[in-house]
């Protein structure tokens, strides 16, 4: 057991991912096993993220801890030179922790606390890659802390709402095309802490014994970076052109509206389907406003022009033998990144993915879930701002594990 705790601690030190845009959907192992869906199906504490309305139907209190290491590799092949360049991304480790509590005196009300990492990525490109003046490294981390209250209106309908406090870190680096006397290029590092607020509300409705519907709305969270630090490494003679100093910026984490269905075909077999609408249109510009401007250091406004998208996710679970549940699923999401706007930070594309999962119950209190996610992306584009012209190919595999304790 000790090894496992150590493993979790270790992985929790850093966390990240890329995904549709830069959104992660690794918030619950049971849901991950079933195609990252489950808005209309109460599973465990992870439902605090997927649908705070469904947690109103929890029969027990539970604590749930999970992590999903992500092994993502991107290859960029430049269209003009034919040269290939790779990312050397560190392993991303989104984690989640959920606590869901029954109140003895008022059983229709549940309290929950969810801590999860819905957005984030670390993209590290290989040294001296062709796009080094656009990006060398981007680290994006956001932790959402969501205290939640759920209320069971009657036997069929539950509602819930959570307040979201989001803290995050951004670290963006790229090379500057000025060379010192030894030929080394300059380097820029923009780093800062971001803070944002939002909410997560949902409703769960058991239409029949077998069919339930869930609707959720997770609000946009505007991550504002008000006290960023810009550090420039440039030849001495250009120091005054690139003064270190403060900058401000912001990044919108989009709203997500979900309609979900769950269908219990029989005691052993359950199907789920989620339809997400993601408000990526909010991400229209990546702007940096430097406190100390010079002729060489102007405020930047890089167009992103993301568009709103739909994603479809579905899955199935089956009680194979006593105490063992097997799951499978998959999904398809449209990319929010339009042609001409693909960047090395989010080399996104329409994506299909497949997932598998297992759940094992060790008696009454303790259970474990594991999942596996795989996707493959390919996108050829010529970016309108940088003129980088090439093909990004991404492979990602993400095995996850969760420990659930019910009491």
């Amino acid at each position: 057991m000790k090894q496992v705790y150590f493993l979790i601690l270790f992985l929790a030190l850093s966390f990240s991912f890329f995904s549709q845009g830069f959104q992660v959907n690794f918030q619950g192992q049971k849901q991950q096993g079933m195609g990252c869906s489950g808005t209309a199906l109460f599973q465990d504490g992870a439902s605090l993220f997927f649908n705070p309305g469904s947690t109103a139907f929890a029969k027990e209190s539970s604590i749930n801890i999970a992590t999903t290491p992500i092994f993502a590799n991107v290859l960029y092949v430049d269209s003009t030179t034919g040269q290939g360049y790779r990312t050397e991304n560190p392993v991303g480790t989104p984690f989640s922790a959920y606590g869901l509590f029954n109140l003895k005196k008022t059983p229709s009300i549940k309290l929950g606390l969810a801590v999860y990492t819905p957005f984030g990525s670390t993209v590290q490109w290989e040294k001296n890659w062709i796009g080094r003046f656009a990006l060398t490294r981007l680290e994006l981390k956001a932790i959402f802390i969501q205290p939640t209250i759920s209320y069971r209106i009657n036997d069929k309908i539950g509602i819930g709402a959570g307040f979201v406090l989001s803290t995050g870190n951004v670290n963006l680096q790229k090379d500057i095309p000025v060379q010192d006397s030894l030929g080394n290029y300059g380097h820029a590092e923009l780093a800062g802490k971001a803070l944002g607020f939002g909410y997560n509300v949902g409703i769960h409705y058991d239409v029949t014994e077998k069919l339930s519907i869930g609707i959720t709305y997770r609000s946009k969270v505007q991550m504002n970076l008000n006290d960023g630090k810009a550090t420039f490494t440039v030849p001495t003679s250009l120091d005054s052109n690139f003064p270190d100093g403060k900058f401000t910026g912001g990044l919108p984490l989009p709203q997500v509206t979900t309609l979900g269905f769950a269908f219990k075909a029989n005691e052993k077999l359950t199907f789920v389907l989620d339809i997400n609408h993601v408000g990526w249109k909010a991400y229209d510009t990546l702007a940096f406003d430097y406190t100390n401007n010079t002729t060489s250091l102007l405020d930047t406004k890089s167009p992103r022009n993301y568009k709103n998208i739909f994603a479809f996710r579905g899955g199935v679970s089956y009680d194979l033998i006593k105490n063992l549940e097997v799951r499978a699923g998959g999904g398809f999401g449209f990319t929010p990144v339009q042609n001409g706007y693909v960047t090395p930070e989010t080399p996104d594309a329409n994506r299909a993915y497949a997932t598998f999962g297992l759940g094992y119950f060790f008696g009454k209190h303790f259970s474990m879930d594991a999942s596996l996610y795989y996707t493959h992306l390919k996108r050829t584009d010529k970016n309108l701002e940088t003129n980088l012209n090439g093909t990004f190919t991404t492979n990602a595999i993400a095995p996850g594990i969760a420990f659930v304790y019910k009491f």
């Binding site: 290939g84 790779r86 080094r132 030894l182 492979n395 595999i397 095995p399």
Partner: protein
Amino acid sequence: MKKHIKYFLSLLVFASLVSCKPKYEAPQTSKGEIDPSRFVMIGGGHVAGYMNDGLTYDGQLNSLANIIAGQLQQVGGGDFNQPFVNQNSVGISLNGLASLKLGYKTDCEGVSSLSPVRLASSGDVNIWNDQLYNSTLPFGNFGIPDFKLANINSSSWTSSNPFYSRMASAANATVKNEILASNPSFFSIFLGVDEVLEYAKSGGTINNLPSSIDFENQYADFISSLVQNGAKGAVANIPDVTKMPFFTTIPWNGLTLDEANAQTLNNIYGQIGFSFELGSNPFMVTDSSANMFGMRQILNGEKLLLSLPLDSVKCNQMGVLFPFRDEFYLDLNEINYLSSRIESYNNSIRSIAAQYNLAVVDAEKFISTLNDGFTYNGVTMSAKFVSGGAYSLDGIYFNPKGNALFANEFLKAINKKYNARIPLVDAGKFNSTFFP
């Protein structure tokens, strides 16, 4: 329990191992219809690797010709020999000076600022004494600073051009015969530039521009001998050289005056009809046809040259009380004359290229696009002096990055004309000006 954890951990390890790096497959290359085995490139300083007003080893390594040859080698091109100067040499300019670097210079007012400075007090004349001809290793780079078409059949060019004499097989060898001797299978030409540069750099005071008919005959004659054994090639047209930083850096109205100085100048020049005001004003230039005093204010559109002695401008009233002499600016007539000449030469180049079915490189468009500025893989490139990133410190010849960008124009034209798939070069890997 332990068993399960082991399973999971091994799954983790497995996942990280297969973590599925996308497979890189090199895109297909092809030489198309050309035979790149014996490639020569012919031209002036731009082709030679002349940069920072000098020929240096580093410049030659990054010469337009060498970069193109390097890409041709990916589709079967052979060795490419250049008349290298010594690796540690300070280089030598057309005028015998050492090449330039960016350093600090203290001006007449005692102000120290970033400026091009010479690497040494004089150029490395040993370069001019080299004898590098080797019959077993024929040169591929026939980029020779100050190479004009009129020199091509001259049996005495070695005596007037030391950059040629160091690579010639004999004192009386014509450069055309030198080029043909190795039987090139593919050639690339950027000629005619030195003719127009000589005129433009002299402010129009030296006019050896060939007549249109002479240019066409010389060009056609040269091409016809190059293609006689079936060689194919790419020829570049001639850019508008007045778009280079040498002609665009000093603004025509860069004379900044305060109220008092403007008044003083008005007292002096007001009587002959020139007025000055607070702020930006045109410099004064000599012009014998302007009036009985032979001077006037420079006009918007006329070009001041980077050869101007800037200290005299700052401290000794040059361009103000002492008008700029004719050799320091191009007037509108000269600019129009030059541009009509370039146009007629380019018409010849285009029709000769069509006649011999050669690829045409639009150097004119490249220089013009650079003048407007463009973004290359996230880097803004322009024709701005020093900061533009493509021109070397002489304001005329490219730095390595500029050469790489220009080389890509040649490769694109060759690919298109001859159905080849020669990969372009990543210009981002080439150096720009180094800052102290």
